[in-house]
Symmetry: C2
């Protein structure tokens, strides 16, 4: 049986489109092995397609066009990736593709939130539309809400869905003024020159609309979602909330769903004080997070980088893979293992270590412990004697080391436990070095 070939087009060669092309090409062998079918970049489209294709070193067999509509008549194309951005060109391409039976992956939250009814209508002949990248970068929240949790009743979703505002809020927590935090975000390149779409909460409202569509199938016009931004929030609110209320502000996009009859949705975007001990308070800088409350799954939290070319392209190609597998159906053989994985020897595993010892409180004992470590090339990061104040015969000693291989550490520990003034009772912990 000749192997099936899944042909993919990428429309839009901006930063996300270029990273998508790069990933599709570099990772094609692995993806093809997993699918049991070839996955091929068949066409690209961009206003500057000649220049971008050269920069990407695309082979001659890849069809190149400046006109998105030209993709619609391209024979044999299975999946179109829309990363043009904007509203009307993207709508024409995506609606045309779906209506013609082509499957589409898009990262375009504006398109999804503003043109959902047209997209739904265009899908009525069975073409698929996937859009993981439109909300929360590579966080697989669309897949999880729409598929993994499909048997659940999702009761509430609370999302930090905009990296710019979360960056500003957490930098203000760290002492900056809101104005300085915004300038910093702009200088770092993840706040727009005109930041109003972010600061006003409108960007978050679009993402809330997309998540509502995933959960209910129905359209929630983002312009109807009650929405307040962070513009009115002062540094004094952030400081006061922290010190007096034990809370931190986060711009939350919220959905609450009532499943008792036809689904009834409460949606809003609001700066919200969350307890400092709440997992959403631990989401800092430009990171995004989504808390999902579902029955019977319970409370699930997803957290990750909310934007950027890499995370967005990761989500796009993941969607292409899932579409390809659906196209192939149960006919596609699931990959048997590639080469068997090799287990690295445990003794090579490197980590900083924590070691608690009980030592007879005699001169020279610590020096012998340090020697035992030094002989194995392990350097001590800190030494502590937490209970050295008393007159006990045995004293506790805690050492931490710089990163060392497990094997060397185990050897040194064996030597240490042979020192006569050291008790055999001890505790070893790794320390996360990341």
């Amino acid at each position: 049986m000749p192997q099936r070939n899944i042909r993919v087009a990428v429309a839009g060669l901006g930063v996300v489109g270029r990273e998508t092309v790069r990933l599709l090409q570099e990772r094609a062998p692995r993806l093809s092995r997993r699918l049991g079918a070839e996955l091929t970049l068949d066409a690209v489209c961009d206003r500057q397609v000649a220049r971008e294709a050269r920069a990407l070193k695309l082979p001659g067999c890849v069809f190149k066009t400046r006109d998105p509509q030209a993709l619609l008549s391209r024979p044999g194309l299975d999946v179109i990736v829309e990363v043009l951005g904007g509203l009307e060109d993207a709508r024409r391409l995506v609606v045309g593709a779906l209506a013609g039976g082509r499957h589409v992956v898009t990262a375009n939250k504006l398109l999804l939130s503003r043109r959902w009814p047209a997209l739904q209508a265009a899908r009525r002949h069975g073409a698929r539309l996937r859009f993981e990248a439109a909300v929360g970068g590579a966080i697989p929240i669309v897949q999880s809400l729409g598929e993994s949790l499909c048997a659940d009743r999702v009761e509430a979703v609370y999302g930090i869905l905009n990296g710019t505002t979360n960056y500003i809020l957490t930098r203000v927590e760290e002492g900056l003024t809101p104005e300085a935090a915004l300038s910093e975000a702009q200088a770092l390149g993840f706040a727009e020159k005109d930041p109003r779409l972010d600061l006003s909460g409108q960007d978050t409202a679009q993402k809330v609309s997309v998540l509502a569509a995933v959960l209910t199938g129905a359209w929630l016009d983002p312009r109807r979602i009650p929405c307040r931004g962070i513009e009115g929030l002062g540094a004094e609110d952030v400081a006061f909330a922290r010190e007096e209320l034990g809370r931190a502000p986060r711009l939350l996009g919220a959905l609450r769903l009532d499943w008792s009859g036809d689904p009834r949705v409460e949606a809003h975007v609001f700066p919200t004080l969350v307890p400092l001990s709440h997992p959403l308070a631990a989401v800092r800088r430009q990171r995004n997070a989504v808390l999902v409350r579902a029955d019977p799954a319970g409370d699930l939290l997803f957290e990750g980088p909310g934007a950027g070319a890499g995370p967005t392209a990761s989500a796009v190609v993941g969607d292409v893979f899932l579409l390809a597998r659906e196209l192939l159906g149960a006919a596609s053989p699931e990959s048997p293992a590639a080469a068997p994985a090799e287990l690295a020897p445990a003794e090579d595993s490197v980590s900083p270590f924590y070691l608690r010892l009980r030592a007879m409180d005699r001169p020279g004992v610590l020096a012998r412990v340090a020697q035992a470590l030094g002989r194995r090339g392990i350097s001590i990061a800190s030494i502590h004697q937490p209970q050295s104040g008393g007159r006990a015969l045995w004293a506790q000693v805690v050492l931490t080391t710089h990163p060392a291989a497990q094997g060397r550490f185990d050897d040194a520990l064996a030597d240490i436990l042979r020192i006569p003034s050291i008790s055999p009772r001890h505790a070893v912990l790794r320390m996360l070095d990341a």
Copy 2:
């Protein structure tokens, strides 16, 4: 065209099996609408099948058997759910089903980690095996690593994969002895009477083996994974790590992958000190979490309840849905919207509020503010005057309210801003009430 029917069998009617049956039946209409095909419970199997079927009020048309092998010859069965637990009966059923071309969903980490090569061999004719529920309850980590992130190079995975040990560690952080924390976990029913499999790290090692198989396709015998448990850890280590090192202990199952050649895996289970500011330190009690470091997706964190009948059944039925969709292939029409969702009026949305005002420092102003809230039925939770010490003409006042409807709050705020001694400058925040 007659509608396709996907027939499902559930083998094992313990707590997870019963909850799976309940979900499949209660949520069947929604699942069927999403699939464009019927999803039917066709058969159940249990040693006490008559008793359990009565308790579950199963209709007569559901085939009932005490013998798992009887499912293998049942005609027309599409998916078998294995929640028998244990090793040999489960292996016989799952291998037999896969070899016969039946698709399987299992929650059995012991089976997966110990019999992976036999399961892989049985799948060679194309039958699918899904096992989201085997690791981390309803946290969709298997789907994410195996599918959403399929274009990524996953470089490292750090997981809190055992709820019992995490419960003990975080209760010891809160001041209990390890022995008292274990007794408490046993009394609450989420630690086994014989807790050795959990405390020793072996349960975590099995889950690490499953995640390694998802990432590489290859088998890592869990008995070869270097593994230390939390038995040697004392309350003094937990206290010292917190106070002197700013760290908290977590039992981490770790995978590090080197993709430069054939995949090379470093795997271990070790009690590990993580910085208190690290998201894994925020994972408390019996909850599980997985941190994934991937290129180009970045660092992703997944957190949720790691076990329990509800979360496990949620993951099982999610897998059944995904298998059903693969079986139907791209032929299955994706559901158009069910009934359109109704947007609840914004003014009905209930939350506690934070309100910062600037008030002329005159007697009676606060009383008028309180009256304005009281007239709308809003009760004040706290009043603060953060800068009342000075001699400024204007004083800041911060109020927090008990939960109130947005509409009533907005009306009260309009009244408040009409009080002559109140400045129009103010800030409103919601407070998360969860």
